[in-house]
Symmetry: C2
Subunit: 205 residues, 2 copies
């Protein structure tokens, strides 16, 4: 098993917790996604426990990339907060489970055990969150294009359409179009709602 987290303390916490599990052996601990990608090329990995808020590449992208090449590797995601759509995204991209860092030791152990046997596992708190508002089957989470992201970032800084146009050397009308497309993509009414959504789901940066 490989643990990926950019917080050394969390890594040491988890390894301490898992030291008495005889079925699981911690092979490697690392702090970034790129390191992990390098590692799995040369080594056999059964299970990965990863934070989804990682520098450079998000855990969701990382999971997707790994599963494309190595679908047999079991990947469990972790995070402190749990936004419903974030969890859904992770599972959609091949994740085998999701644990909140506030989960108890017992929950951690239970989840890891079950995941090994092929189950899709969630820690208790995650369960309640994803089970309640079962709106649409699996809500698809659209992603922003490069340009759209540029504009979204500038919007988050309070820039007006005109200011963004000036900054990116675009027509006012072009920015207006992008802006509208972004809102439509996420079905948001206005930028305020959009910002909340993007920030809570860590879709900027």
């Amino acid at each position: 098993m490989v643990i990926v987290d950019d917080h050394p303390i969390v890594i040491s916490g988890i390894s301490g917790l898992l030291s008495d599990l005889d079925t699981v052996e911690i092979v490697e601990k690392m702090q970034s996604g790129v390191t992990l990608l390098d590692y799995i090329i040369n080594n056999k990995v059964d299970l990965i426990l990863m934070d989804i808020f990682l520098p450079v590449m998000t855990g969701i992208d990382l999971c997707k990339k790994i599963k494309q090449k190595y679908p047999q590797i079991i990947i469990i995601g972790m995070s402190s907060q749990s936004e419903r759509s974030l969890v859904m995204q992770f599972i959609q991209n091949g994740g085998n489970g999701y644990i909140l860092k506030s989960a108890s030791f017992e929950e951690f152990k239970r989840c890891i055990y079950k995941a090994i046997y092929g189950e899709i596992v969630f820690s208790d708190e995650v369960k309640t969150i994803i089970s309640q508002p079962l709106s649409e089957d699996l809500e698809q989470v659209p992603s922003l294009s490069r340009r759209e992201k540029d504009i979204a970032v500038l919007l988050s800084k309070g820039k007006s359409t005109q200011e963004i146009a000036d900054e990116l050397f675009l027509s006012f009308l072009t920015v207006q179009t992008h802006r509208r497309n972004i809102l439509q993509k996420y079905k948001m009414k206005n930028v305020a709602e959009l910002m909340t959504h993007l920030l809570k789901n860590n879709l900027l940066n």
Copy 2:
């Protein structure tokens, strides 16, 4: 020393890390601020290491409360992300230091050691963040009144001025005034910028 964090793994990680420090003895580990407040009434505490994103009461409020009654207790804050103003707020409310969870073991130890001897300590990454844009002495962080917070929350959900007025049984014009006051308080241009600021600094909820 008391560790307060709502993530069991983080607690175990830190206690593992500190087990070889002979000057520091971990007395208690707890997951919430209210538990801590109860504890310090009946027990002598020298040092507290606390996550600032805690359920119910935020670490900043908790720190303030403790320092008012027990100014001699040394309190170090922790978090995963580090927003400049968040750190400043913590220090303004009496915090003796701030460590990012991505800090190395050595940094952790160094910070805790120095804090004991009365220094205000920051982990390396925090240092760079708070040192760069030294804009205004100690930027004061205004807080929202009850009503303003209500409105800010509704704004974050994408509600328009009219919708908020209807929901809170207020005049359209009243909401407009509150809205303007909120923007002025934080010197923000529009709600988009406001939302980013409020969310990044965890000022909603």
